[in-house]
Symmetry: C2
């Protein structure tokens, strides 16, 4: 990184003419008065803005045209070189960071205001200097996809990569991942890598790392701290607990869901507290028992995509279920109403699915709470039609588990057994 | 109601032999000691149990075989006759109660432990003596269905029935309804009866009225109180706010969702407080403005069921979308990830749907929070493919609105306009 990393054209000229370089503390007069540190920019940035990290921790882009004056308060502390020295520190635990893309690995384009995936894992690592004090981090880019474009094939690739490190000297593995489908990926890793000896933390951010109010750095620092100190294994999602920067939550990878489109505390453990929380720079454990009941690691990195998630609602056309049955699906996860119901008009098709040996599991669109199919007539009817109640499994997690179960067995009794065998705290007892 | 209502065979003999009748306060020694009031039973009950209302308000069924002794503490107060007198009180506001079925109108079968719908609206009314002090209630049974079996045809029937009373002297209308799909029904009523001059409250219960810890009576009392005192119109869902019996919440019918399979406080207003809350026997208003912006009532009781709810997930097969397109659907509501995304593999089919003039709206499976499709590449791609962002509309509510919109217009521009025109607070601005 140079004194002007990422700056070019007008913005580079501007900084040079004012004898200001990246890392300098400055006071800027524009529409308001701003105090902060000049931040580097990423490749292909426009040349109209400079980026300032405010004392609040927020980054803002200021258009140079609107800047009336800029005054240097303190010169850059050459942070970068310090990091590079720090990275060599012997005796620090080693962490592997696998980057898959997403906001945590993206930058904002100040011309269009849009976010595009650009950062490599190493850039990500070096952009958070605090990491170097906790661990030596090796970074590897697996691919660069927003998580809405992450497909089951990507899950396999992530799992296979992690599997390569089962006998490594890492203290833990971070998977940097987009937030949209992070809980689907964490579920697949939880099943396919059950018993993996190292803790694994999926980390994302709701706001990109060069954007005001980014949660990227704190989530990443929290994840590294967690992996180094947690003294357990398993797959977790590590994100902000709420809107403030004081608490980082470590959720069990099969009990978590993205419950808000934009809040930093979007991820929540359903029906319980997160397994661990980090506050006051300490890790607090909320769960009594290890959530990973499987002690011997034997990877089962397989899946079958022929699993449908059917969310029942008034007006749902049973013929849609017919299409699923006729398309060779191996399993159907119902997202039923209430305690686990669907309308009577679905029964004839459910009967056919049952006769064809398709696994059918019931979850609830309520999301929180347990299905209980013995309370009402409808539930008992559905039990008689061969639908298996999946306790309090979250619908999306049940879907992933069924993809994994049908990938590992073609025998319908075995599939049922796998679905009801608790592997990674995917349901509570 | 007689002294022994509902009791027969052994349980009737038991009560007669002990000179105990319905309404008596008693002390019973069985496995434990119980104090409470003997409750009536419903037709076709078994003859092995008596039902006791404990001082806590909970009802329990006690097997007569296990009863060692029963002692009368105080004779029945002939509550029933009092109610019948009270029902004639002049000057009390009038409320119409329409019963559609569900737990609130059901009883538990003590032989099988299962719940079946039996109570008529009048039985329901007379089983909650407190109601008679607040209002004169007329009851009418529309049908008796658990709400998982309530179809869009039922929505039409409910709406048409309510419409008949637009010029009546009722202070408000209660719709007793199963909880599973209550929010779908409340949404349809909100759109099709927009501007209806009287307040309408959908009321359900999570536990049946003769079961321990039933919430039926309090929800019903809360709804009547609300309708009599709220001084507004609109469609609401009135249920327990949480597990305790102190607060009843009145949710806007388009902003509410069943978020727990079994808790009494299962219904929640998404992203906000309930519009009204009842505690300390008073109604507290939480919203500033009337939520019903349409002032002139003109019913639009129409719908088209050819609307699909597509919940995107990794592994979702775009061919399923093809089936929807080819089956003549008029609208597709996507339940996308995060801020409103689906995988790139969906684009070709979305393009076809757009070319066919199918309305496509985007909501988020996060449930809480607003879709924002200008932040990421994926969102902008989908906007270019013709998908309309539906703000913070709850997916299920957007589905119902699209059924209603396509029932009222076949013109795709008009459908889009209807979807984006706020009618009953279905989204916030």
């Amino acid at each position: 990184m140079s004194e002007y990393t990422g700056y070019q054209g007008n913005s580079l000229e501007f900084l040079k003419s004012k004898q200001i370089s990246v890392g300098d503390s400055v006071k800027i007069l524009a529409d308001l008065t701003y105090s902060g540190i000049i931040m580097p920019r990423y490749e292909h940035s426009d040349d109209k803005h400079i980026v300032l990290k405010l004392r609040s921790g927020y980054n803002i882009g200021l258009e140079i045209e609107n800047i009336t004056s800029i005054e240097k308060i303190k010169s850059a502390e050459k942070i970068i070189e310090k990091i590079e020295e720090a990275k060599q520190v012997e005796g620090l635990p080693k962490i592997l960071l696998l980057s898959t893309g997403g906001t945590i690995a993206s930058k904002i384009d100040y011309r269009t205001g849009a976010v595009t995936p650009v950062l490599t894992a190493e850039e990500l690592n070096s952009s958070v200097p605090e990491l170097a004090k906790i661990a030596n981090i090796d970074a590897k880019v697996l691919f660069s996809e927003y998580s809405e474009n992450i497909m089951p094939e990507h899950w396999l690739k992530i799992a296979e990569n992690i599997n390569d490190y089962s006998k490594s000297d890492y203290s833990g593995i971070i998977v940097a991942h987009g937030t949209d489908t992070m809980h689907y990926t964490s579920a697949f890793l939880s099943f396919s890598l059950a018993g993996f000896p190292l803790p694994i933390a999926l980390v994302g951010s709701q706001r990109s790392s060069d954007r005001a109010s980014s949660d990227a750095a704190l989530n990443l620092i929290g994840a590294v701290k967690f992996l180094v100190e947690c003294k357990t294994n398993g797959i977790y999602v590590v994100m902000h607990q709420d809107e403030n920067d004081e608490t980082i939550a470590c959720h069990i990878g099969t009990r978590v869901r993205k419950n808000h489109t934009s809040k930093r505390g979007a991820f929540q453990t359903i029906g319980n507290n997160p397994a661990f929380m980090i506050y006051n720079n300490e890790i607090h454990r909320n769960m009594k028992n290890d959530f990973f009941t499987i002690k011997e690691y034997k990877h089962k990195i397989k899946l079958n995509q022929k699993v449908a998630l059917v969310k029942y609602h008034p007006g749902y056309d049973p013929n849609m279920l017919k299409t699923i049955i006729d398309s060779g699906y191996k399993a159907i996860i119902f997202e039923g109403t209430g305690l686990g119901h669907v309308g009577k008009n679905m029964y004839p098709m459910i009967k056919i699915a049952n006769e064809r040996g398709i696994f059918m599991g019931m979850t609830s669109q309520c999301i929180d709470g347990r299905v209980r199919m013995t309370v009402y007539e409808s539930g008992r009817d559905l039990l008689n039609l061969g639908i298996i109640p999946l306790e309090d499994m979250i619908p999306e997690i049940a879907l992933v588990k069924a993809m994994w179960a049908t990938g590992n067995s073609e025998n319908s009794n075995e599939i049922k057994e796998i679905m009801l065998n608790k592997i990674a705290s995917e349901f509570s007892t």
